[in-house]
Amino acid sequence: MLNVTYGDTRHADVVGSLVQALEQAEVSGDLYVGYPVLNTSEGKLDVDALLISDAHGLVAFDLRNPQAGGADEAATEAALARQDELYAILDSKLKTYPELRRGRSLAFTPHTITIVPDIQGPAQVEDRTFATFQTLAPVLEAFPPVDAGTVRRLSAAIQHTSTIKPLKKRTDVTKPGSRGNILKSVEAEIANLDAWQKKAAIEFPEGPQRIRGLAGSGKTIVLAQKAAFLHTRFPEWNIALTFQTRSLYQQFRNLITRFCFEFISDAPDWSKLHLLHAWGSSSSSGIYSEIAAAAGHPARDFSFAKDRFGANRAFEGICRELLKATEQNSVRPLWDVVLIDEAQDFPNEFFKLVYQATPKPHRVVWAYDELQNLGEFAMQPAEDLFGRDKNGNPKVTLVNKEGQPQQDIVLPVCYRNTKWNLTSAHGTGFGTYRPEGLVQIFDTPSLWEDIGYQFVKGRPKGNVDVSIARKPSASPEYFEKLLQPADAVLARTFRTAAEQYNFIAEQIDKNLNDDELDYDDILVVFCSPLTVRTDAAGLAAALRKKRITSHIAGVTSSRDRVFSEKSVALTGIYRAKGNEAPMVYVADAQYCASGLELARRRNILFTAMTRSRAWVRVTGYGPDMQRLKAELDAVAQHEWRLEFRYPTKEEIKKLHLLHQDMPADQKEKVEADLEALARIVQRIDEGLLDPASLPTETRNLVRRLTKVNGR
């Protein structure tokens, strides 16, 4: 099969014919169009098309000299020179990768071909080749094959994914089979981009682009590579990359710098490539503050925003206010491209502002974690995000056309989480094995397959029994080779919080002293957002008794590195987002088992569990944790399949109503009612109230309540 990635659309007709010719010749491999961009002493060199194939090796196509090979000697000379240049650059660039060398030479020969409509002179001039679409197949057949391992390494080099290999060497890992050793193996796996990531990183359509993927599907790396690629391809463009979590700034800066050095052996020009927090401040620009300045509108600070719009709607409020102001004072375009990470965290008004700040064709790329919150409502469709024009037509619609850069890309493979963890997280997030029934489920059934699941049994239709499992292709092989499912996900119940913290501290002690893990390989996530500090204090005390220092990440400083080489990171769920660690302890998980706004609680559990790159331990205490553990165990007992009766549309609607977030005043009332009920029960238990003395109607209500749970 031929995977085509469209990094450029300038030679669309010729490229289309090339793809057709290659497909007709049944060539399989990866074809990159307009990629990579290579650096020469005289400037940048675009590669019109590059084929990497087991059967034919590496072939660089020259598509810009159609007059060559005929009577026009100058054109022929130009084509020969271009082929020489392509060969020289590829040869010298690829020789810098030791894994691609054999002795002093490359382990394969890069080939070059100029595509022409017809050939009047010699088809071969030394190592330079001319071919038409008709003669292409036999020309390619003459190139010797290259072994699959070399092709993989070659792909990594071309994609520059060797750049993103972890920098941690783990030189002090010595025990075979230790967790540290296992991690070393996992991290050594060559991280080639998969087909979807290639498209997301390299393809740029004439207009907006949406990139969706599970947490851990590589979006940050893809966006960083995209930003670097666009910057090297179009150095005159003003490119902005924005995000919500400030700690992403340094991560993006490092990645983009590394990619740029790989592409063009030079640092990025930060006066053209801007890393901007969404809001901005007096000390650092942001998307909002830049647009406000351009519109002559005051950029609002936290205090104003919170007082005027409330903490929960602060950013939305100021964006809405600015949007209104730009109706009076339209904004001149500020950036040629805007890339948005964590798009699910931004209000629609922000997208509308960004749309205004980019010229036609409005190159806005937004990436978000599909279902990090298990509520697909988190992200609006493009039509709602960007609004409608005067005639009521959506300003943005996403269409994927064959043979063109894709506008809507889904990344279905999760590289961070094991399939056992991901399935457990989805299973408990949805409440699949909850005795009382599901908590939530996708509105759009097709999402299952989009994010890498398959229906082993049944189809997503109401009242149908289904069995859903991760597709083998949606999970990297190395997890199965290197990890054990029973060790990947563990749940434990304790009687008290203190017992729980003692257990976690013992385990962390073992991780550091026996398992050859480092402090920064471990993350503890507390599920209850309201009690993080008090919970963290309890665990910190237990860790201190083991002489293990710890710190709370992301409360007082955004510029902390979350992780430290000398201290274990403890964090609440909101600051855990965007971070990952090989060993994750999800503490106080009983908070997620039951209660008001259950969907949100289950989302917290999902997010916490999916921080793990290898092992996850879900702990908690009390009867609620026992129930949660039973659900987690059920996923394993069903061999990592989610088996349930698929709800009808009406049932799905009802689930939303039952378990969704409540307005604050409603929640207060319900909580007050629950407290009153608890007091009545307590009076009965203390013998202060005789249940028989309750009015008949009340006794009937109580019976109804107990019947709901089947107890």
């Binding site: 400030r246 205090s303 008090t534 963290a536 005390a541 201190r544 710190h551 709370i552 902390d560």
Partner: protein, 224 residues
Amino acid sequence: MPTPSNLALRLNRFVEKALGENSALDFNGHVVTDLGSQKKRISWSEQQPFNPLAHLPGTLGEYLYYLRDRHFSLVNLDGSLLQLSFEIHHGRVVSHRLNFVPCPIDLDLGLLALDTLDNVVEQLFLSSPRTEVRLRSSLRFDYDPDAAGQNHPASHLTLNFDSTRIPVSRNFDVSMFLKFVLDNFFSGRGIKFGSTYVVGGDPCNEVMDPAHRLVPHLAWQTGL
């Protein structure tokens, strides 16, 4: 006389309790560092090396440096910081750094829902200087008899300027310092501080040069 590990334990229990009782935003564990010659430092666990001269005192830069590089023992609910650091030699406290660093703004805790403390303080400090900023100096009680001299009392209070050294009659112990902070900077403000955990008392010895008694200074009696 406190042993280094005992003092570290007491400091850790204090900060853990403060956090556990919801009287603090953040904390650092305290560790014992061997300085050689049987001298030990008991101080917050440093993730970055601490440079006390990195920023001018009483500046936004100083506050943000302490916060962002985690050079604190405790961050109080109002955003102020405590730095608690001692050196013990042969069973005696031979120096301490007890620093109360007020928050540069009047902190609305609700703003922490929007961003982390450092960004909230920085943004409001720079965008609303007339309304949000509070011109308050840190108060640092230093004790260092080895550096004592005519203009450098062994125990002194530094505020406003780095060269200010108001004579103090005794070295502090932790509980006395925390009580001083509580009584003078939190009492009556309706903001929880510290913890009911008793950090324990160590001797606060008279260390003042008689000449310093003839000028305004800080003194208190013990053992009433």
